[in-house]
Symmetry: C2
Subunit: 208 residues, 2 copies
Amino acid sequence: MLNSRRMPQPAAQPMTANQRARRSRVIAAALKLASEGGYDAVQMRDVAVTADVALGTIYRYFPSKDMLLTSVMADWAGQLRERLGQNPPHGTTPATRVADVLQRACRSLEREPLLAAALVRALSSSEARDGGPISEVGLHIRAMIEPQLDDLDAEIREDIITVIGHVWLSTLIGWLNGRIQFSQVAQQLGMAAHLLLDDDYRRRADPT
Amino acid sequence: MLNSRRMPQPAAQPMTANQRARRSRVIAAALKLASEGGYDAVQMRDVAVTADVALGTIYRYFPSKDMLLTSVMADWAGQLRERLGQNPPHGTTPATRVADVLQRACRSLEREPLLAAALVRALSSSEARDGGPISEVGLHIRAMIEPQLDDLDAEIREDIITVIGHVWLSTLIGWLNGRIQFSQVAQQLGMAAHLLLDDDYRRRADPT
DNA sequence: ATCGTAGCAAGAACGCGTTACAGTTTCGGA
DNA sequence: TCCGAAACTGTAACGCGTTCTTGCTACGAT
């Protein structure tokens, strides 16, 4: 769990080419194993063999299995963000655009359920180092949602993004643990977006 | 991870007195160890010794360490709910009452950080069996919030409770993993309650 | 070119959740 | 009261994440 005296990711990245290659071989190996067999199939010994690297070397680059998989997820989020940049979300209101973003992300995850489960499981239980892969994931998600909310007050916008982020993580965990179906993940995310952003959706008897 | 052929919690509860006693000794032992040393200190061998029970016996009652700790959390939620029944939440609007409920829960967790961390960690990674301890926790939380939302449309109320539940779990996980401070858990929960329930709070430039 | 240091390979070792097993005790029904 | 089944005990064993050890290799500075 803890990692006291080692020094992974030496400060910035004065990495040699060999080191960069090793690091990405490890990430690629983890991605492959996770896609094929899910979290349990990502065994560190197998990652080492698949990446053609020594077991101990993995721990020089990633402080734990969960951090390794979280780094894979950061990669994934970055790619999604890029695709989203090239192909902007549909919708005329913030609520529908945000819902579109979230549902696209869900479809992307749904396409590889084993990988998705592995990544979510790792994400939900890996300690956040400052500037570590978790914050990277958060940044990508934020960057995908924020532009859809142009016309909102800045503070409210931050709050809304925060809440949506929570719903995102928690629904995925709910799916991972069998509490809800995958279809409900997308549905609840859309629901939350409308609840937070779409006044017409909140047609309730108001006490004020 | 998986538990194929065993039969824990035999259907309903035709338990003998000895069995009830054993089961609650195990829960008490897990609670004690978690309070004192957190998740890692809850070692199944130690639980067995502390509860004066054989290691294998624990697995007859609880399919895994996480399920055991989730059962502890179900107990905890039940007690909180009871206290809340005797001492109803303060506030004149749904938003403030809900915020009061959530903040009381936070204070209760904050009083025993090691226990709280252990329970949240278990909760976030234990598989949901139907009618298992996770749904029990969910029921307690729902029961504490629902009465504060009397005057809302039923469907919207369900949605709001769902979203708050997600924010609750996700903020706690964020705290557990060092992404946010404990004070932010309470603060973000209050923020979400107001964002979802308090129209005055949402003083944004509205695009509609 | 070379020397010292940091990185790496290979694999053994450790810790703890979980399972398996053999012998003993408890329990409900006849 | 007695019997067979189910539960329990005590303990060994297994799997996998993580750490440690020992010897080797690559690399930047001189």
